[in-house]
Symmetry: C2
Subunit: 496 residues, 2 copies
């Protein structure tokens, strides 16, 4: 396979202009920079790609720019692109990226036959993921239309299955452990070649602008629920969701969990989903996984000084982390969430704290966490998804990655406002697929940076910041502290 | 010990009148039958007992009569009583039983020193039981003052520790498997001699008329919660209830469970408690134990054709089995019950049906269940606790054993109205401590007898018995059937 691709690539490179598109150069836009003609040779006059050549039209400009720079420097190895890009200036790269990014070239779904089984498996991997294999859903990062997320995450929609398969295989087998390559390496390493083909085939068969739903995968009747001890628990895969009303309720719960603003909108007051803090569909250890929460509630919580049912606890998530108004204990939304969590926990012993419950507890830092240093850690590790301004990223007007502070983020009542909680979460889980790679010091500092920003008022606000701090923030919180000359937790000034 | 008791007993018997009470015979009531004087020799002039001689004053007449008859026939072996009772006629026995039953002889608590540890252990066994050892609480059957339950269950209050210990040891070591002896054999067989002494000592130290509460036992910090596989699950003992608010909530839940009418009165419309159908504090396998229910909900139920949260399911218990109005899903009572069930299930895997869940499923009977035959089975096995009229038994104005039909029993919406459910429950659990001893045929027939009686209307009643039967009783139910010329489920005629 590799040998054949190599041959084709060489064929394209040596002629300078690919025979596939040689006849199309006259369609080139007048605003095209001169250098675009070289690209058009393989990628097509409008950058639409085809066969083994990736579609570059409509890709986020930042992504195109970055890839060209990486290939020019040799950091991304591509022996066919390198001779071309080494001649490009920064200005050339900027112009090319802007140009191809701005092209809305239409594309057609592949007409190549694909088996029903492969299409279903591809859809499962693209929209749901396969947690047995450590594979998150493609749409989680590439956006609900797989149209990419500005500035750094590429569109997949419109790519050919040949190109997708080549890239997925390259990611699966790479030894590059740097970000963001490691994310794709982790996502693909558990998948078989058949799985990669299914993903590639499914994507190639997508219609332009098709909005992907998280579609329920076909049921795998062979999955066995067996009792598991709490130190090595793995929740069941989505394909084990049973048929019938119980399965429907689980699926509804999962939809609320993943797309909380869509499926439980009236209860949400910010731009987060349950899955913003409970990653991988609430499955990930040390990301406060829901299977662990399920078996540990009811429990006493110091936060409200009473026994909390699981429903109470979920209501607090809506009240604080979602900055909203919680659904009632017996509402369909609540029942769906509880049913989903119950199902995730099948086989896990009740009431015994399993490994991976809650967030990681980091040892206290040697020195108080350093906000300024944290800002640098943030800039180096977090902006791909969360943006320089910490406001996350949007994809086609939808929040694709969560805002970490400000009006659209969790309020001051959320547990994540504690430096220690944020540090433990970050250490274990951030950057995505590279959890554990930040030093403890980096995790503490970047956590401090994140939680030292303004955010919505604590719903328990008594009217006095000082009193509210004393009552509810007498811990490692910046609430009621002055940071950069600004009193955190101060009520917003009235408009006008 | 036995040898010494024997000596004392012989001493009493040979003189005819015990030296202990020789001086007291003048206090004998004028209505005493002549034969009572013989009894007074050992049991005291007012039957107050003392030392190794049991208190017979104030015992239920039925109990006294039965014991005298059993000793006369030799079915209850007592070599010292036998020479005396063999001379008694049925009339004598009736007179003696009536006489001593009617005496309200005061008693004093024992002044013999007892250790704090023994008192606490005794209190635990008397008021809570010890489920690790298969020992139910004494007060469960002997009434909340241990004053006995008319007609067949003896009072324990006022008995000396010597007598209690002798009897408990005799029960523990008996080979008599007949009812009701087997109940006491089962209750005591797991207890150490120290435990029996603690029970005897605690009872001897009771004040007359003292109403026993189910008191929280001292905490056993050595108890370990370990994950257990669903085929051999045992819930933790009450002594493992942790300190603090979580433990307090568990204990509150247990109180509601055991004394539902006291602790959750507004929600109960009949004379049952949760523990009427879920025996041994909701612990007993095949008695729909709460640890099994905890791990199996949420689940879909055909009964209401929706996913039921655990709270939904509990609400149905209040609606149907308790013929009441359920507490809200987020009420303190509901939270306490759920917390109690959660704690019972610690270590049990979520979502996997454990052995002993629900009620026993009996194979279908070869012939339709026979109500008339069931009446005979009932008369032979059930009346000690449930009465000839099936209305249970009262102790000092309180329902001590549940009514099985009629206005104070579960309504037609309860699951127990199904012949098969009742048969499975009875086969596994009835008579108490002798579950499994009835033949399948007996269980089917006595179940049919029980559920073929009138009971409160189904809350889902549509206004038509026929329609209600079709909608909600299209199974093995007598609802809407004419039994003994009476249409079951027919609305009560208006008064006047």
């Amino acid at each position: 396979m590799h040998a054949r691709i190599l041959t084709l690539l060489i064929a394209g490179m040596v002629t300078g202009i690919s025979p596939l598109y040689a006849a199309d150069t006259d369609q080139m836009s007048v605003t095209a920079p001169a250098t675009a003609q070289v690209c058009a040779g393989c990628h097509g006059p409008r950058g639409q790609g085809g066969g083994i050549y990736p579609r570059i039209a409509g890709q986020p400009a930042g992504y195109l720019m970055q890839q060209l720079q990486l290939m020019r420097s040799g950091a991304r190895i591509n022996i066919f692109m390198q001779p071309v890009v080494r001649r490009l200036s920064d200005k050339d790269i900027g112009e090319l990226a802007d140009y191809f990014s701005g092209i809305q070239a239409p594309f057609e779904p592949s007409t190549r036959p694909i088996s029903v089984v492969a299409l279903a498996r591809g859809r499962e991997l693209v929209t749901v993921g396969d947690w047995r294999e450590g594979a998150p859903a493609c749409l989680r990062c590439h956006g609900p239309e797989l149209a990419g997320v500005t500035p750094g995450i590429p569109a997949l929609a419109g790519q050919s299955s040949e190109y997708m398969l080549t890239r997925l295989q390259a990611y699966k087998n790479t030894e590059d452990g740097s970000l963001p390559v490691v994310i794709m390496r982790d996502a693909s390493k558990g998948l078989s070649d058949g799985d990669l083909q299914a993903v590639a085939g499914y994507i190639a068969h997508m219609k332009p602008g098709e909005r992907l739903q998280m579609l329920r995968p076909p049921r795998d009747p062979s999955y066995e629920f067996i009792p598991q001890f709490p130190d090595n628990f793995k929740p069941p895969p989505e394909s084990a969701i049973p048929a019938g009303p119980y399965g429907d309720m689980i699926w509804y719960g999962l939809q609320i969990f993943e797309n909380t603003r869509d499926a439980a909108g009236p209860y949400v007051g910010d731009s987060l989903d349950c899955s913003s803090c409970h990653m991988d569909h609430g499955r990930r250890p040390y990301s406060a996984p829901m299977w662990a929460a399920y078996v540990l509630y009811p429990q006493y919580r110091e936060k409200n000084k009473k026994i909390n049912s699981l429903e109470d606890r979920i209501q607090d998530c809506f009240r604080y982390s979602m900055n909203g108004a919680p659904p009632a204990a017996d509402s369909p939304e609540m029942q769906a969430l509880v049913t989903y969590f119950h199902w995730l926990a099948i086989g896990l012993p009740v009431g015994i704290k399993p490994k991976g419950a809650g967030y990681l507890k980091l040892p206290p830092p040697a020195h108080p966490a350093d906000i300024q240093r944290g800002a640098a850690v943030f800039a180096a590790n977090c902006v791909l998804c969360h943006g320089e301004d910490g406001q996350g990223r949007e994809s086609h007007g939808e929040q694709a990655f969560p805002p970490l502070w400000g009006a659209k983020s969790f309020n001051w009542g959320a547990g994540m406002e504690r430096i220690s909680t944020a540090a433990g979460f970050i250490k274990a889980n951030m950057p995505y697929a590279a959890g554990g790679t930040l030093s403890d010091l980096d995790a503490w500092d970047v956590a401090a940076f994140v939680v030292s920003h303004a955010r919505p008022q604590d719903p328990r606000f008594t009217g006095s910041v000082e009193e509210t701090r004393k009552k509810y923030h007498a811990h490692d919180s910046y609430y009621g502290r002055v940071i950069d000359g600004r009193l955190l937790g101060a009520p917003a000034k009235p408009h006008g």
